[in-house]
Amino acid sequence: MSRLESTWADSPGLLGALSTVDHKRIAIRYVVTSLVFFVLAGFLALVMRTQLARADNHLVGPDLYNQLFSMHGSAMMFLFAVPVMEAVALYLIPLMVGTRNVAFPRLNAYGYWLFLFGGLMSFTAFALDIGPEAGWFSYVPLAGPQYSPGKRTDFWAQLITFTEVAALIGAIQIIVTVFKMRAPGMTLSRLPMFAWAMLVTAFMIMFAMPSVMLASTFLITDRLVSTQFFNPAEGGDVLLWQHMFWFFGHPEVYIIFVPALGMISEILPAFARRRVVGYLGLVIALVSIAFLSFGLWVHHMFTTGLPPLGMSFFTVASIMIALPTGLQIFCWIATLATGERVRFATPILFVIGFFFIFIIGGMTGIMLGASTLDQQLHDSYFVVAHLHYVLIGGAVFPLFAGFHYWFPKITGRQLSETLGRWNFWLLFVGFNVAFFPMHILGLEGMPRRMYTYSAASGWEGLNLLSTLGALVIAASVLVFVCNVVVTLLRGARAADNPWGASGLEWATASPPPAYNFADIPVVRSRAPLWEENFPAATVVGLPDLVPTALVTRLHDAQPDHVALLPTPSPWPLLAAIATTVLFIGTIFSPWALIWGSVPVAITLIGWFWPSPDEARRHREIEIKPDEAEQRELAFGELSS
């Protein structure tokens, strides 16, 4: 074993697995965990669909039904959609930008463990009949102490805390890794589109998530220690909750959707065998979506009696988001149209499915964005149909495309195309059968979140059809799981670059070694692997006595210094356990904030405290800033 390998290797066994700070191992766990939550939340949806398949059905009572839809929504949003996108990014971004790990590897492990424990807490609570019951957005006064006694909503509020802390940690990782750890020569204008999308997403997370964290803290203190934030009798206000929630909640939709846009912009060029059309336009579109998404939260509140001028403003802002989205879709169509003849492999099928479904979702979005029409359709199944068209169409289809596309890189094995096609067609057909009828049901007046309906309503046929569609979706997910299992057991070995793509992640082995790249390449264009004679230069001289990474300058990616990265450690896990005790403790007693912070502080200090052995190694290779010799790449070395 070379020294590079032994330096980056995790120790074997359970302790090694629990202590790892390898972004790839952590991200794979993150993806798998969020997919397990996806399947569980999907199962809850199946129960709801079974209940609604017939009129006057009493398979599920109203109380359980409340928990079912609340848990389904909360889990899909907080435990699946946002984390899975960040998880994919935490795997891919260091490979795409050509570095050896994320910027803060131990923090990365801590973020994952928190996410895991938050999800486990939430599903355990649900299994014990203390699942959330006031919807995934827990509107007050329904979610307040008066109308939701017991601990159900408190568990929901702490689910928010767990997942948002984890998401914020992920956001910092992504931003610092993209800003400071790109391979030499990878200027911002050469950044892969997925990295751009994740950068934009990470900034959105940083500005959106604090709002819901504060709101859910207000909610839990209203319930636990009688603060009066949302109590109108004591000067509080129920709409304050809605403002704080949707200031987060609307950007949240784009936090889920923007990474998917980045995936599509990576996948299409590989199959069209040309660079993506309109790179600059796509980046500007992503950034403008991010800005606009913070200016339209009130369109979730059109029926709350806000002033007409405000309604008009938010109507315009809502509809305006169609512009950058439309621009992207035209860029992608142009990429497909002007490239080589596209082979319809599974990833491309899912991308085309995305086009179809997302555009329908976008159309109904424009309808709902008009405040006048929204007054009529609010809280009806039309909204349920719309949000599933945009979220499943806009995020799950691209995600499946991404899974099929990057799976060979992650595992070294190629997913079966046959099963992939079954996966796609079942999902595509099942999805439309399940959700298209909901548009009609909504127009006919069926409200969302009702546990049953009378036969006289005439809704039974379409509901039954919708339930059949849901079963087909479940079959599709089952096919996907089978495909993954079969492929891992005896799938065809994948080449390092099976799709002939241009990004740096394809320049290393499949699966990549712990250190990602033995030699960090110098990047000279937007499509490095399509350069002649790639890599024209490689980085040498990175110390391998301890894990290190090259830090480059933000704007021009010139080499700046060498970062000494932390070694594997069980402390992040212990700190996450201590934090979990603190968070769950505060559900029951405000004093947990005091006594619970002691173990958190102890574990964080243990985490920070340098080991003498590590310090000795660091001293051995230490070069102080004023002793160093800087060398910059000449212009000629940076262009192909």
């Binding site: 910027a103 803060f104 910092i172 931003i175 610092v176 400071k180 750890m181 940083m206 500005f207 604090p210 709002s211 504060l214 803290t217 207000f218 203190t221 220690v225 009688s226 603060t227 009066q228 934030f229 109590n231 004591e234 000067g235 509080g236 206000d237 403002h243 704080m244 200031f247 110098v522 890599p535 024209a536 230069a537 490689t538 980085v539 040498v540 001289g541 990175l542 110390p543 290190t548 830090v551 300058r553 080499p559 700046d560 210094h561 060498v562 000494l564 502080a601 920070f608 405290w609 340098p610 003498p612 310090a615 660091h618 230490e622 070069i623 800033p625 002793e627 160093a628 010799e629 790449l633």
Partner: protein, 200 residues
């Protein structure tokens, strides 16, 4: 036979100060997140004030004395804080130890006065929404205060016991940078809690 050229990075420094370092960016990220938290908290304060008939709701404004005293101490703490940061950049261990100790004394003083501040708010979180938001803002700031205090103490102990390497001086600078944030975040909160009920 490869004809590739190489980029030799073996003489690059193994740490760097300021915005060159990863820690600086990590700290900046924390500051953006927590700054947003403070900003949204203050917006909530003004939102509740906007719908209220009177403000403060059935209570006199918080007493000026302790809040103002803390503002002065926090501003003064900027001096040793800056000197600690500068000593960190010079990698002057002796000065780092001294100035961080002075910072710790200041942080203790702020926390002691903070206890009295809580007692002089003239309201309680359970009285009404005004009391709730006032306590929320002050608690939020106190959490940051305590966090950075513990941080500083741990780092100061490390400065005495070791094991020390050069990049620990980067930590000294980043710790000082975070304290600046704690000070800067206080000013709008002070203005909101203490002056808004009096001036507007």
């Amino acid at each position: 036979m490869s004809t590739r050229t190489t980029l030799d990075v073996s003489r690059l420094p193994t740490y760097a100060f300021g915005h060159r370092s990863l820690m600086w960016w990590g700290t900046a990220g924390m500051i953006v997140i927590e700054g947003t938290l403070f900003a949204i908290g203050i917006v909530a304060y003004f939102y509740l004030r906007g719908i209220a008939q009177e403000w403060p709701l059935s209570a006199p404004p918080p007493d000026l004395l302790y809040g103002t005293l803390n503002t002065i101490i926090l501003l003064l703490s900027g001096i040793p804080n800056q000197l600690a940061a500068k000593a960190g950049e010079r990698e002057d261990l002796g000065s780092v130890r001294v100035w961080m100790l002075v910072c710790i004394v200041f942080a203790v003083a702020v926390q002691v006065v903070r206890i009295y501040e809580f007692g002089a708010l003239n309201t309680h979180w359970s009285h009404n929404a005004y009391g709730s938001i006032v306590f929320a803002l002050l608690t939020l700031h106190t959490v940051h205060l305590v966090t950075d205090f513990v941080d500083t103490v741990v780092l100061e102990v490390l400065m005495f016991t070791g094991p020390l390497t050069g990049r620990r001086f980067v930590d000294v600078c980043e710790n000082a940078g975070y304290w600046w944030f704690v000070v800067a975040a206080w000013l709008p909160i002070y203005f909101t809690l203490y002056l808004v009920p009096r001036l507007f």
